[in-house]
């Protein structure tokens, strides 16, 4: 399975996952925010999927850039800008670098860096950063330890899950929920949960591809 196919299949898979999770993510957002996170993610992913589906086969990086732009535009809101920026920055890095595990690692770091730069959140602020940042670190470590991309992804996933779960105990300091102070404690941050669902969708595609004994990643 080529990297291009991983990107397109992951987006496809993500649409299915978020369709099933739309209401749940909406409820998580309603607890301290405005309840639209599920709808926003789904809108963005559908647009990204459509944009990539219609495109000529290009590099995985270019596809990700296109996906990010389509996502940001269709989704809107905070998560539109941030997830969109993540895809776009990761894609840019991937298309200028290589598609090895180390290249993927660099792309993830570039994506994370732009999200941090734009959103100014740090770990502990109860945002999507609390899931994304530990994942990128764990992926990095796994790659440094010699794992291939697919296996590093699988090994790193629990770090995102743990990070998302930990947001439940946090007080929000960024985004809509930040205005609530103590009353924002208790629920999982919807953006962090979405990071988990997105990364899991990619993981599912990668594991299938491994099972089919493909190579590239």
């Amino acid at each position: 399975m080529s990297a291009v196919v991983v990107v397109t299949q992951s987006l496809h898979k993500a649409v299915d996952v978020f369709q099933a999770r739309e209401q749940e993510l909406g409820r998580l957002d309603a607890a301290a925010g405005d309840g639209d996170h599920g709808a926003t993610m789904l809108r963005g992913l559908r647009a990204a999927d459509a944009a990539v589906g219609g495109a000529d086969p290009q590099s995985a990086g270019d596809l990700l850039v296109q996906a990010g732009e389509a996502f940001a535009d269709a989704a809107g809101g905070a998560s539109g800008a941030l997830f969109g920026a993540f895809f776009t920055a990761a894609g840019r890095k991937l298309s200028t670098g290589d598609e090895s595990a180390a290249g993927v690692s660099e792309a993830l770091r570039a994506g994370l860096a732009l999200v941090v730069k734009l959103g100014k959140a740090v770990e502990g602020d109860k945002t999507l950063i609390d899931a994304l940042s530990p994942f990128v670190a764990a992926f990095d470590a796994a790659v440094a330890g010699g794992e291939g991309a697919a296996s590093a992804w699988h090994v790193a996933l629990p770090a995102a899950e743990k990070g998302a779960a930990a947001t439940a105990a946090m007080v929000a300091r960024r985004g809509r929920a930040a205005r609530l102070g103590e009353r924002s404690r208790g629920g999982v941050d919807p953006g962090a949960q979405s990071v988990v669902y997105l990364l899991s969708a990619v993981d599912a595609v990668l594991q299938e591809s491994c099972a089919a004994n493909s190579s590239i990643l």
């Binding site: 309840g35 809108r43 732009e69 535009d73 809107g76 800008a81």
Partner: protein
């Protein structure tokens, strides 16, 4: 609960189509963008004022496009900020030769997207500035004014910016006056019942019978405190007290007043409330200036209301008094 819709995914698109069809004497659709622009825009010699945000707050935002108010409104999906791409396209459609001022409520999503668009325009050599509305005293304490979110105070800031721009002020001056209007505006709201996103069956939140939420956000962000429901006179007292406790520095004795309904609350109730608001303001030595009791920034069908005060001075008062014309507010 939202009842009139077709496919919920088309809600934004259809409401914009309907809005533009109805008010084609004032506005037109921005070509290839999720926005509405004044018929006269772009207008050479004039700073363009671009407002925007998520849908679900009509008259905010498209209802305030027209002469003496905004040149354009960028409209996101319900409760979702418009994307940077849409902000950019609308900006390019209405920018003339004096620069552009963005005015919008201070929410993470809006800030991210308007900032990205601003940066892109600046890279192209277009002078764009931003004033974020931060009037909601419930959303952050004193000393953290810049972290507050924007609610019904949007109306005053848009009006000031629009009036300054239409008389030919330079961008820096329009920006300064809009920022000053914002700096002197305070709002506080209460909610009695939740709102429901189009296509959803469950309300975003519920207020138990006999209770009310203080400081609830216009997107259903939970309030800072829950209380038993009180008579209108006590609610008036509570709203005025919250705002006076946060009187901005440099405040004079004359205040523009907006009693804003969030959706399901009746105008009659707002007038009953205003009766005591008025008396309390007078008792506090303040002079209410051309009060407005209306739905200015709604929240779908939420039940509740807010009070906004803008402490005027000799610069701001003429801006509020200036004529304007738009679908929702004509002066």
């Amino acid at each position: 609960m939202t009842k009139l819709y077709n496919d919920p995914a088309d809600f934004r698109q259809e409401l914009l189509d309907g809005f533009v069809a109805a008010y084609s004497r004032l506005v037109r659709r921005v070509p290839n963008a999720s926005g509405v622009m004044a018929l006269g825009a772009p207008q050479p010699g004039k700073v363009a004022v671009v407002i925007g945000g998520g849908s679900g707050h009509y008259p905010a935002f498209c209802g305030y496009v027209g002469p003496g108010l905004a040149d354009a409104a960028v409209m996101g999906n319900v409760f979702a900020a418009p994307s940077a791409e849409q902000v950019y396209r609308v900006t390019k459609a209405v920018a003339a030769d004096r620069g552009v001022l963005y005015c919008y409520g201070n929410y993470s999503g809006d800030v991210l997207n308007f900032d990205l668009a601003e940066e892109r325009c600046r890279e192209e050599g277009l002078d764009v500035r931003s004033v974020r509305v931060t009037d909601d005293v419930a959303s952050a304490g004193k000393g953290q004014e810049a972290d507050r979110r924007g609610v019904a105070g949007d109306f005053f800031v848009f009006k000031a910016a629009g009036a300054s721009a239409v008389r030919g002020d330079a961008l820096a001056e329009v920006e300064r006056l809009a920022a000053k209007a914002n700096q002197r505006t305070r709002s506080f709201g209460v909610a009695f019942g939740g709102c429901t996103l189009p296509g959803q069956r469950e309300a975003l939140f519920h207020v138990a019978p006999g209770r009310m939420e203080l400081g609830l956000g216009v997107h259903g962000e939970p309030g800072v405190e829950s209380s038993h429901m009180r008579p209108a006179a006590e609610v008036a007292n509570l709203l005025v007290t919250a705002l006076l406790a946060d009187t901005p520095s440099g405040a004079g004795g004359r205040v523009a007043v907006l009693v804003n309904g969030l959706g399901s609350t009746q105008y009659e109730e707002l007038f009953v409330l205003y009766k005591d608001v008025h008396q309390r303001l007078l008792a506090a030595g303040l002079e209410p200036f051309q009060p407005i009791v209306a739905e200015a920034v709604t929240s779908l069908d939420m039940a509740g209301c807010s009070l906004s005060l803008l402490w005027l001075d000799e610069e701001l008062q003429p801006l509020l008094e200036a004529p304007c014309r738009s679908a929702a507010y004509t002066n």
